[in-house]
């Protein structure tokens, strides 16, 4: 599973607000809100293959994959 977030840089730089997750089963990328990356979040659900997987233990990588 991979996570992409755009959260590093100066305050005056324009950046996105949405994290993306890659489904470990089918490699589909889909957008998730911050709540889905918290420790107490329910399992993420791939909208393509319906695989459920836990995201909480993973630290997102910033600015790219």
């Amino acid at each position: 599973m991979r996570i992409v977030k755009d959260n590093v840089g100066a305050s005056w730089e324009k950046r996105g607000n949405t994290a993306w997750l890659e489904c470990p089963a089918c490699r589909n990328w889909f957008p998730v809100g911050p709540v889905m990356l918290r420790a107490e979040a329910p399992a993420a659900h791939c909208p393509q293959c319906h695989h459920e997987f836990n995201t909480a233990a993973r630290e997102p990588r910033s600015g790219g994959e």
Binding site: N17, F30, P31, G33, C46, P47
Partner: protein, 471 residues
């Protein structure tokens, strides 16, 4: 008595009864996108459609019901849709108490599915956009009650059908339904809920009125309808949760305490796919419906959903702004601005009044950009609005930027982690006359004499059908 069937019969010429099979996955929504692009807004009725079991659905689907402002205004009894703001501000406050009727007299309880029969898969629920995990109820009005006061609340909230008897339910964290749910959950109890689907557009708009907490929406719906809304006790929750007796379908059940599921991505009113979030889940106890039930779907992020919500917003913004700017004459929340833009029309505002109006309107949570213009500018014409902005604004003098106001978390441009938004007001009014009765100290608008305009219109009518370029 008003219901969806009567409205469709009254507006028969505006209904496209599609005489072809339509796939509930994406196809009806694609049709709505095409119609929006073409600026055409018929009501769509699909009879040749399958349910979630893949069987022919005995229940047809209606969508695009409220994509037309003209038709939606007509449903409310407003002859000209441009008069919605004042009309809505008055009527939604003129509360009319609901009328409680017996189970046997309630069309929505003519058919009752219980136990294993109460399957969501028997409904023709649509999957709208690419990237969504499955079928969503988009016109389900979640009805809950405050366990402290017993007062009910109803609001449209999306539900992803996950299995035959379980779906997610997404009450936005700031909503009254979420407050009710939390009260039940804090007691360790499941939250009772009933979702009603399908009704006359006047009822759909009436239940969207913004009210204090706790306050029932049935009175406001009656005010908009101009008659008491007929309600009936739900079968699972009794008188604690009433449902509209003339609705099409009701889904009853409970949200078990502390149980969340992933929900989304889902196509939002912004036109973007909202990110996956967590939502409570809901377990079905029974489904009731009319014998001739029609399943209602709102095209999320399309004019179908923007038009009614924006019309209701116009009433609320009018009420807020009128309190501080008596020169306000009209409000338009244009669908091209989603729910983020509002146009205010003022009649001879005094010095400072346009800016008072702008700041008052910006306090409305969803609004992000508000433009004030004079009465000579048509606030329903994007061209006229841009003309006013182009010719009546000096940015350093006439724009106001305010940071840290409440905003929508669904705004794709809001910085990550921010819980407030940056907003802008634009004063595109002309300066007032230097003294009463004097002309404004600005160049006059270029016009031609009225008689010449009438002659031009008459000449154009003689041209008949032409192949002249549109652009």
């Amino acid at each position: 008595m008003s219901d969806l069937h009567r409205f469709l019969a009254e507006q028969a010429t505006a209904v496209w009864d599609i005489d072809a099979p339509v796939d509930p996955r994406h196809e009806l929504t694609a049709l709505q996108h095409e119609l929006d692009r073409a600026g055409r807004h018929p009501i769509l009725l699909a009879r040749q459609i399958r349910n979630l079991r893949g069987e022919p659905s005995g229940i047809p689907v209606v969508t695009n019901l409220t994509a037309s402002r003209t038709l939606t205004a007509r449903a409310l009894g407003i002859p000209d849709h441009r008069d919605t703001a004042r009309w809505f501000a008055t009527r939604s406050r003129a509360s009319i108490a609901p009328e409680v009727i017996a189970h046997d007299d309630a069309p929505v309880q003519q058919i009752v599915w219980r136990g294993a029969e109460a399957s969501l898969h028997r409904l023709p629920v649509l999957t709208q956009h690419s990237g969504e995990p499955g079928p969503y109820l988009t016109a389900a009005h979640a009805t809950t009650f405050d366990p402290d006061s017993g007062v009910d609340n109803t609001a449209i909230q999306r539900c992803w059908v996950q299995s035959a008897q379980r779906m997610t339910w997404f009450p936005y964290p700031t909503t009254h339904n979420m407050r009710n749910l939390r009260k039940f959950w804090d007691r360790g109890e499941p939250c009772p809920v009933a979702f009603w689907i399908g009704h006359h557009p006047a009822v759909l708009l009436g239940t969207q009125a913004k009210l204090r907490y706790p306050e029932s929406h049935w009175g406001a719906a009656g005010g908009v309808l101009g008659a008491p809304l007929r309600v009936v006790p739900s079968l699972t929750h009794g008188e604690k949760i009433m449902v509209p007796a003339d609705a099409e379908i009701v889904i009853e059940g409970f949200a078990p305490p502390g149980v969340y599921s992933a929900d989304g991505p889902f196509g939002e009113y912004t036109g973007y796919l909202g990110a996956q979030v967590q939502s409570p889940v809901f377990d079905v106890t029974c489904i009731t419906m009319r014998r001739d039930a029609i399943y209602h779907d709102y095209g999320s992020g399309l004019t179908d959903m923007l038009v009614p919500d924006n019309m209701a917003m116009e009433g609320k913004v009018y009420e807020i702004v009128k309190a501080v700017a008596p020169s306000l004459v009209n409000v338009h929340v244009p669908t091209e601005g989603r729910r983020f833009h509002a146009y205010l029309q003022l009649r001879n505002p005094g010095r400072g009044e346009a800016r008072d109006a702008l700041t008052a309107a910006l306090a409305y949570r969803r609004l992000k950009t508000v433009i004030a213009v004079d009465e000579d500018v048509d606030i329903f014409s994007p061209e006229a609005m841009l003309w006013a902005v182009a010719t009546r604004v000096q940015w350093s003098r006439d724009s106001i930027v305010i940071d840290g106001l409440s905003g929508s978390g669904l705004d794709p441009s809001i910085p990550e982690g921010a819980s407030t938004a940056s907003k802008m007001g634009i004063d595109a009014t002309l300066p007032p006359p230097p003294r009463p009765g004097a002309p404004r100290a600005v160049p006059p608008v270029a016009t031609v004499p009225e008689a010449a305009m009438r002659r031009a219109q008459a000449l154009l009518q003689t041209a008949g059908d032409t192949d002249w370029p549109a652009e």
